[in-house]
Symmetry: C2
Subunit: 319 residues, 2 copies
């Protein structure tokens, strides 16, 4: 009999769900609205309904647990706290509510931690006890598996790689971050930061097919694929700053591999090559065996798989 868990990825607009088995197949994938359920109790009721539908469609299997990835998750309390991009104010005891409504143990963590477990259980990190996943999207996030456990830290918010401060190379320092501080890594190496770098290079008046265009991540990607020198330089800068920050992170946590995931990771070697070059150039020799790879969940149901992996991992830890 196949073991199943229910993976739930809470996003600001919609929540993705699906039953996940140990081989990483997602069954009965579905979405429910997050934004449309201003009352968390209504959201949980909709979640329970979707859960039953997915279970019925799969032939009523036993479901061992529910894993939830969400922004502003407190993994110790199973709560979502002060989430600016969700419709729920204050503290929501999501795990308690879900467990009560569905009658199955539930577990909660943030998206980057779920991605780290997803990589470990379903991706390139199989069999690894120390790894990190870096998410390169609107911001930069990271999740760490340390000694076969998620690294939560004292606050539950360990892994804020996007908010380490960096000394940029190739572009001017002094970028203001959404957190109010200056020169956080995500002002350079998120998709947003990558676009800011393109805009800075364009403002210098360099020749490029991007001049006069609406610059966004995919436009830079296409231009780079077409050999546009400015777009290629933009990847070189974004990757170099990222690689140098990763070298410092590796010196502290010493993972077996670092996986890049999310928007920018979709550019493959364009981002991987300059990041790897800077990582290797900046790294203490004893750490030079560390692998840098694009996440193997990059083009799969990563969010649901990560949440499912959380459930399997926590159930095993508790066992």
């Amino acid at each position: 009999m196949t073991d199943f868990v229910f993976g739930v990825d809470v996003g600001g607009t919609s929540t993705k769900v699906g039953l996940v088995d140990r081989e990483g197949t997602v069954h009965g994938e579905n979405r429910i609205s997050t934004a449309g359920h201003a009352d968390p109790a209504d959201f949980v009721a909709a979640l329970a309904e979707t859960f039953e539908a997915a279970r019925a469609a799969a032939g009523d299997p036993k479901v061992l647990g529910i894993g939830i990835g969400a922004p502003n998750a407190n993994p110790f309390r199973g709560t979502i706290e002060q989430a600016p991009n969700l419709p729920w104010k204050g503290t929501v005891e999501l795990c308690r509510m879900v467990t009560e409504a569905i009658g199955v143990p539930s577990f909660l963590t943030n998206d980057a931690n779920a991605a780290a477990l997803g990589e470990k259980i379903y991706g390139g990190g199989k069999g690894m006890t120390n790894l990190m996943v870096v998410t390169l999207g609107t911001g930069v996030g990271s999740g760490f598996v340390v000694g076969d456990q998620l690294m939560h830290g004292h606050t539950g918010f360990a892994g804020e790689l996007g908010h380490v401060t960096v000394a940029p190379k190739g572009v001017a320092p002094g970028r203001v971050c959404g957190c109010g501080r200056i020169d956080c890594l995500e002002t350079y190496s998120s998709v947003t930061g990558h676009v800011r770098t393109a805009q800075e290079l364009l403002a210098r008046g360099l020749e490029s097919s991007l001049q006069g265009q609406d610059v966004h991540g995919e436009a830079i990607h296409q231009a780079a694929l077409n050999g546009d020198a400015l777009a290629l330089e933009c990847y070189r800068i974004t990757g170099t700053i990222l690689g140098r920050a990763l070298a410092n992170t590796v010196a502290i946590t010493s993972p077996e591999a670092v996986f890049l995931f999310g928007g920018l990771a979709g550019s493959g070697d364009l981002i991987l090559d300059p990041t790897l070059a800077a990582l290797e150039a900046s790294m203490l020799p004893i750490f030079r065996g560390v692998r840098l790879e694009i996440s193997q969940l990059q083009d799969r149901n990563a969010a649901i798989l990560g949440s499912g992996a959380l459930a399997f991992h926590q159930l095993e830890q508790g066992a």
Copy 2:
């Protein structure tokens, strides 16, 4: 009946040993020569002799385990590997040899990890499950307790905080590190780096009681206690660079507290105040509750206590 372990701190010149109880009292403290035993087997024989003498002096108690702190320790294999400052070449299977000679389980880790466990069991970190200790001596080292476990990483060498690269403030960048790289934290915030900063400030011709003197860590300390402006500025620079590096480390690992230990930590508030100011100024708001303190083992038998703590910790983990 009191529980005892045997704490062993292997240094380049001599090795400190002693029986340690759960309250942190060291009994039968002793030293044996490291440098004088070119053959590891002779060293282990001398260690066994000292162990029996300490045990006899304490009334022949049962000893539960042996904890060993040593440079270039491989905690996974219990070996010391390619240690440049020890007389032993290649790989030494120290744990296996010690366990066979003395008949008690033995455990090995590097000095900074032992310090982290010492702080957790005997110092200011009692009851904490996430903390870090930073050793500020000839170099900069660090040990992390993450989720109640030592963070070893994949290589066993996690915690190389001394070799994260930094952008210095107040002094010129470009310092060459012993590792061959440029601008590692320890070129600025070790005792050695602190002295280099004093020399740089003196070379500017600034007025100071240190002008024309042989500058070393204790001379800077004394000058600062006497209100010497250059010495105080030197602490400000050393602490600011350290505090900024700690802010980035806290963003990744989120400890409950950071403890400063070793040579520079002996300067107390002179180093603590500028480090804390930079840490708080550079820190993401969600981590602002983190404590920064001087190690409570600073003026105690820290090395032996740390090694003893390792033995108690590993025995409990195995139980």
